[in-house]
Assembly symmetry: C2
Homo-oligomer: 208 residues x 2
């Protein structure tokens, strides 16, 4: 009886489901998540989850949504350093953080940007909203980076934002999907990507 008393029958079933589901996919992938197994894990019957999530798809959307929130906070914690770091260093920090998040939460990342939801399934309204918000934030920052000379100012901001994010995303996918297997190389490849993305700086980086 260490638990708080449940207000209704199960109480915070939705929360519990979301939690258990995230853990289930964390080890074993999305394929390891079945509604029945999930229900069993939280001690409910097979169809109990359907009163908190319309669909299995809706459940996946909710997990993805959590991922966006989590990722967003991580990124916010970077932009705090805005004052102390140069634009280039800040960008590098962003990229590495982004990749690290994708690696450490690979299954959630797969849901956030994968076809399971966006192509095969139907993204929830709220999921669409938060993902748009996140891209908008990226877009705005790219505009700033253009002004700061890190990106080409000639090209439209949208195009730069799209293609540079795609580069980042592609890297994450190759590692997440097991195409690139050497996790050790991730940092090196990431740095090469950064050099590719960024306009050649006037001062050459001197590696002794």
């Amino acid at each position: 009886m260490t638990d708080t008393k449940k207000p209704y029958h199960h109480g915070d079933l939705r929360e519990k489901l979301l939690n258990a589901a995230t853990h289930l996919i964390a080890d074993g992938g999305v394929d390891n998540l079945s509604i029945r197994k999930l229900a069993d894990k939280v001690g409910a019957s097979r169809t109990a989850p359907y009163h908190h999530f319309k669909d299995k798809n809706a459940l996946l959307c909710a997990i993805a949504e959590q991922g966006f929130i989590q990722q967003d906070q991580l990124i916010k914690s970077i932009s705090v350093q805005q004052e102390t770091l140069s634009a280039h260093a800040l960008f590098e920090s962003y990229v590495l953080t982004y990749i690290r998040f994708a690696n450490e939460n690979s299954e959630t990342y797969d849901l956030m940007y994968g076809r399971d939801i966006w192509k095969t399934g139907t993204p929830t309204e709220s999921l669409q909203a938060i993902s748009k918000r996140c891209f908008k934030r990226w877009l705005d920052w790219v505009a700033v980076l253009q002004e700061q000379g890190l990106f080409d100012s000639e090209q439209p901001t949208l195009r730069i934002a799209q293609s540079s994010w795609a580069a980042l995303h592609g890297l994450c996918r190759l590692f997440n999907d097991g195409v690139y297997i050497n996790q050790d190389d991730v940092d090196e490849i990431a740095k090469t990507t950064i050099e590719m993305l960024v306009k050649k700086p006037l001062s050459p980086t001197n590696t002794p």
Copy 2:
């Protein structure tokens, strides 16, 4: 009887299965492919496919393998123009062809590089072989492009090959997975990506 007579019971069942499977995933995605539906489509019983493919996974690998062959031929047809085109133009042609292939065969592309096989499943020996061969070809070409000054010669060829391909791949994925939806933009974004990947040329592109 225009068909060749079947040597055994069903004759070229393997071929027929592979064909039907490719069509099934082409409209409806991988989720639309079930062994039973497939068997039904070619007029065989549920378990007949298991005498030609060890697994569902093995079947998917075979489809992916076909994809690599197809993609390889497409790319070969480009390198024929090697003499008539500049390095930059050749590279652009490659990128656009790559993306077009990924778009027109999105479900096959998903199998070729997606987690269904490489992470969740187990890639066949022969699939691993052909995919390695394809990347090797890319790697070799990147080395040439480095010599031709299109890529930075300072960085290791492997790193450039990895990160540039990741950029390409990421773009394809975003379109394939329905994250980027405006198919019309694909060419524009692709060109921005190319500009990003390639070392800034000495002669500026003059857009009047």
